[in-house]
């Protein structure tokens, strides 16, 4: 699979329509558009509170050409499980259930019901479109916010001290059939993974890095470029985990220094050279660890 094609051939169905209410340069709308292109019309979206609660449109409108069930913030894992059960008991096994949450609904408030659902290996595709903070409520820190990043609840004088959770590993620890990371900056990788996930039975998890121009303090026309750098410098590696054990790295890094990625964003503008160096060391260590996991022999071999 080619990852550097400038104009990937996108599948035809256009299930996100114009007039939605995303901000300029929003990654979340790109992510949904591409995901639904891969999954097609036989999809039910379960949408807990997140930016997408707004993007989907206010009553009586909807910006999606597939059914949407809005749910309470922490409940996507359970609501999606109920939808799956109703489909199965009525013989509609071919319909995809797509749990579509932000990082708050995945890493934080939604983690319990998500963990419960994937531990039961519910036949649902769970997605986290991760913009690294509570952006819909005005940019507050979540547990997906990177270390030292500015948010309105982690002001520059009192930054977030802890590093970002590794959500893909948390999902893999449940030994689900498929977990993967991807990014709106790599649309062909994203579409490939959704198509692949659609063919797998059981719980699947896809973590999408999704830029937020106001939250990251970047110009809206730079959002894809900056997001691509996150992978090029190994801050956000793109990989798959099959059966919870077998790691495959999908995008080769390009040796871009973390400094370049951080300097491109206003949310990191207060970082000292020392802090940047510390982040670089952490990124290098995590990449090394990921390489080790990818080089381990496959479980059962």
């Amino acid at each position: 699979m080619s990852s550097d094609s400038r104009q990937p051939r996108l599948p035809a169905p256009e299930l996100l329509i114009s007039g939605h209410s995303a901000c300029q340069g929003c990654g979340a709308s790109v992510a949904m558009r591409l995901a639904l292109k891969a999954l097609g019309e036989q999809t039910i979206v379960v949408l807990p509170a997140c930016c997408w609660s707004i993007i989907a449109g206010a009553f009586p409108y909807t910006s999606l050409r597939v059914p949407v069930i809005h749910s309470a913030f922490e409940a996507a894992g359970a609501v999606a499980s109920g939808v799956r059960a109703a489909l199965d008991i009525t013989g509609q096994k071919n319909v995809q259930v797509l749990g579509w949450s932000g990082d708050g609904g995945t890493f934080d408030i939604g983690l319990q019901s998500l963990s419960g659902a994937v531990e039961r290996n519910e036949n649902v595709l769970f997605v986290c479109y991760d913009n690294e903070g509570y952006m819909n409520t005005g940019i507050q820190r979540s547990s997906a916010t990177p270390q030292y990043a500015w948010t309105t609840t982690t002001p520059e004088k009192y930054p977030k001290e802890t590093p970002k959770k590794n959500m893909a590993d948390i999902m893999a620890a449940h030994k689900i059939p498929y977990a993967a990371t991807t990014s709106v900056a790599f649309p062909d990788d994203l579409i490939f993974k959704f198509k692949k996930a659609a063919r797998i039975q059981g719980s699947r998890f896809i973590h999408i890095l999704s830029p937020c121009p106001p939250g990251w303090r970047i110009p809206s026309d730079q959002s894809i470029k900056v997001t691509r750098m996150a992978t090029q410098c190994n801050v956000f590696p793109i990989y798959e985990i099959e059966a919870g054990d077998n790691y495959y790295i999908n995008i080769e890094p390009e040796g871009v220094p973390v400094r370049d990625y951080l300097k491109a964003q206003g949310r990191f503008s207060h970082l000292s050279a020392e802090a940047i160096e510390q982040i670089q060391r952490r990124v290098d260590f995590e990449w090394e660890r990921l390489l080790h996991k990818a080089m381990m022999k496959r479980f059962g071999e």
């Binding site: 019309e41 036989q42 039910i44 379960v46 609660s53 707004i54 989907a56 449109g57 206010a58 009553f59 009586p60 909807t62 999606l64 050409r65 597939v66 059914p67 949407v68 069930i69 809005h70 749910s71 309470a72 922490e74 409940a75 894992g77 359970a78 609501v79 999606a80 499980s81 109920g82 939808v83 799956r84 059960a85 109703a86 489909l87 199965d88 008991i89 009525t90 319909v95 319990q112 019901s113 963990s115 419960g116 531990e119 039961r120």
Partner: protein, 393 residues
Amino acid sequence: MSERKVIMGNHAVSYGVKLARVQVISAYPITPQTQVVEMLSEMCADAVLAAKFLKVESEHSALAAVIGAATLGVRTFTATSAQGLALMHELVHWSAGSRLPLVMADVNRAMAPGWSIWPDQLDALSQRDTGWLQLYCESNQEILDLTLLAYRLAESLSMPVMVVYDAFVLSHTSEPVEIPDQSEVDAYLPALASRTKLDLKTPAAFGGLTSPEYYFEFRYMMQQAHDRALVLMDEIGAEFGRRFGRNYGALETIDCDDAELILVTAGASSSTTRVVVQERRRRGQNIGIVKLRLFRPFPVDAIRRVLRKARRVAVIDRNLSVGCGGIFAQEIRAALCDLSDRPEILGYVAGLGGRDITLALLNALIDDALERKAEEGYLVFWGLKEETLYVER
């Protein structure tokens, strides 16, 4: 053919759910609800009941899961108690606002702390403003019957219904119960045909952002559904009577026509009250009982009709809204307050946290209610340890 079995209240629910041919069940275990879901698990495992049972990781997820399933138009069930219902609270609102015809059993249990697994009505009453209909049961037969009736009500109104009964006094106590024949239940409760449900052919959004331009009317429509429920309860209850020989209305009135004093009860203590009142009647005292079955919607007109003739009303609340009083008493006062010929209303709070409501306690309560100055009867704590001597006098 119907059959008669000696079963505990929790199993009466399970039989009701089976007879209702529920399709998706989701629950999380909590004492004293556990036998409900244990039996349903076995029924599903043995394929006696063709339902999917989601064994989720919390009560919040249990209600969320049936919300998801019901949105697709399948019949669902969940059951909980006390802390579990409190954890569900956000979704208790959500499911009513979504107009989903859910049925849930709540085993009345006291709220912690201190930890208590014993009966107290506060858990269910704390959900009174959510839009759920609430039915209170007196016996295991009533638990089974009202479970079936609840589905008829819920699906006729597109509103969720809670079937409420006392911890242990009913949940774990065995009584003879007439279990109706499946074909007769099928005739009473046909398969669910939702008017609005998720349909892949005509995609729509459910529960999304709603501006002030629309929200108000949605709430008004929920009230309209509750208004219809008052009429429907009696119709559906009477139809139940014709089919199964047991009639159910919003209220049950016992010897109220000539009653000087009417006791108002809900739940299992109604049975004990019946025994006490029968004995008083034999002694020539004109005492009646109003048993509240339907608490939401609150049957204001029916309550006015029956209570206005009495000189006195004594409400027995196995619950306390701290800082206010017994919740049933407050609702009854509100229902009667604009009647010029209203009776005097005494509010008794008794049996909190599972303290037994005994014959002796009720006998003393009746003596007190006949004699007490009305202005000293707004909130009476009945059966406190300090008053033990008085109760046993």
